[in-house]
Symmetry: C2
DNA sequence: ACCACTAAATGAATGCCATTCATTTAGCAA
DNA sequence: TTGCTAAATGAATGGCATTCATTTAGTGGT
């Protein structure tokens, strides 16, 4: 299966229609049905419709009107499918402000965009966080842009990667936070034994923020931006 | 499916009791074998030995010399087992510096300890991050201590929870980072097309830090501490 | 024009998995 | 003594990712 090697994610393709044409028995098709781009966009469609629980190799194959085993001619494992999806999403993260805006504003827009994209795809985070950059070219391209931006802003060379990692860690953690239920901090019957926590929760609730996760994200992000910025040359 | 191959719980791979005990047929035991504490510690032992991939309901039952279905008398689902484990770990996080040290030093110790505990248990993070506090009393106790500490340090009431969430998001993200492979940032064949990133990686590597993840964590944590601290009353 | 080779499909099989359920029985309360 | 219930069993269900032998349509070489 030499063709199953990863890399290079192209743009999405067609929308497969549901009308089932005459089913061939086996053998080489008139034209190859599958490739990594087709698999990636089918996976994204499936995730959008059924969530990550619905993303199974069987369901993915079904959505492409293909046998599950056929996928393995193009992908070595389900994890590979997740990597393809991840790299596709990385291209959606907005890095456009690097080069046109001051560094801190560029970081701000990048971080919000990054969090927003992956808050809808939190099951990918454990995959991304330990994924060698080589396997994800779009992700690598994002890092290149951010690195260049920080260097241009006067970040010392040896602190650029650490700064990105710190920001990214915060972003990933915050992406989970977005998906938490609204009442996650309701102490319920334990309220009496946790007075400080309970009143802090109450006090935040009284502020009536629409999305409390945004408040925490803004707070942390601004702290990181000013803290990291203070260490520039 | 052949019933013979389905379940062999009488596997000799038993760590608990080398002497084969007389196996009862069914019915109520002389004394109940299982409860949540027993299940929790067996799960921790199993995770320590085989990792989270090895934590299956079947393996857990086997380690307790019990049928898999017996677990469901004490736990509603595998997720429940994970919650039990999570709450056990929360009790290991060091909050002792709150009350005996200045707030920033207390936060520092808490954060490092929190990260260290969960960096060995990253599969729990997607569970914790959306878990209502009511379901995890030890975790709630931790929040109470931290809340009290921040209040004592002059944090405005309505910013306490957001500050904790920001710190916790950073901690969770950083816990993943600890488990990343050492060469995660090796650009490989893409080095030429990513000069800024590549030289930043190179420059960090030349510093020769033993654990690069610790550098990023320290950098981000100190930024958060000073940024959040600046907003006190 | 033939032929060999190979990429890309099939469908069956493997060995997992979590969870459900009818059944059994020990021990306690009445 | 009777009857109820908690806590166990073992079988069954319907998933899951992955592997493999097999098939066949094109393609490149002669």
């Amino acid at each position: 299966m030499p063709a199953a090697a990863r890399q290079n994610i192209e743009s999405p393709a067609d929308t497969r229609d549901a009308a089932a044409p005459p089913k061939r028995r086996a053998g080489r098709p008139a034209a190859a049905v599958l490739d990594q781009a087709v698999i990636t966009s089918a996976a994204l469609r499936l995730i959008g419709k059924s969530g990550y629980d619905g993303l199974t190799m069987a369901a993915l194959a079904r959505s492409l009107d293909v046998a599950p085993s056929a996928l393995y001619n193009h992908v070595a494992s389900k994890r590979d499918v997740l990597v393809l999806v991840e790299d596709h999403l990385a291209a959606l993260v907005d890095v456009s402000a690097f080069g046109s805006e001051p560094w801190d504003e560029a970081v701000r827009r990048w971080a919000w965009s990054y969090r927003d994209v992956f808050s809808k795809h939190t099951p990918l985070i454990p995959v991304i966080a330990v994924l060698p950059v080589t396997d994800a070219p779009q992700t690598l391209a994002m890092y290149e842009t951010v690195s260049a931006g920080l260097r241009g802003a006067g970040f010392p060379e040896e602190r650029i990667i650490s700064s990105i990692v710190a920001l990214e860690s915060f972003i990933f953690g915050s992406a989970f936070d977005v998906t938490a239920p609204a009442d996650i901090f309701d102490p319920g019957s334990m309220a009496e034994s946790t007075p400080n926590f309970t009143s802090a929760v109450q006090s935040l609730a009284e502020q009536g923020h629409e999305r409390p996760a945004d408040v925490a994200f803004s707070l942390g992000l601004e702290a990181l931006i000013s803290g990291l910025g203070a260490l520039r040359k």
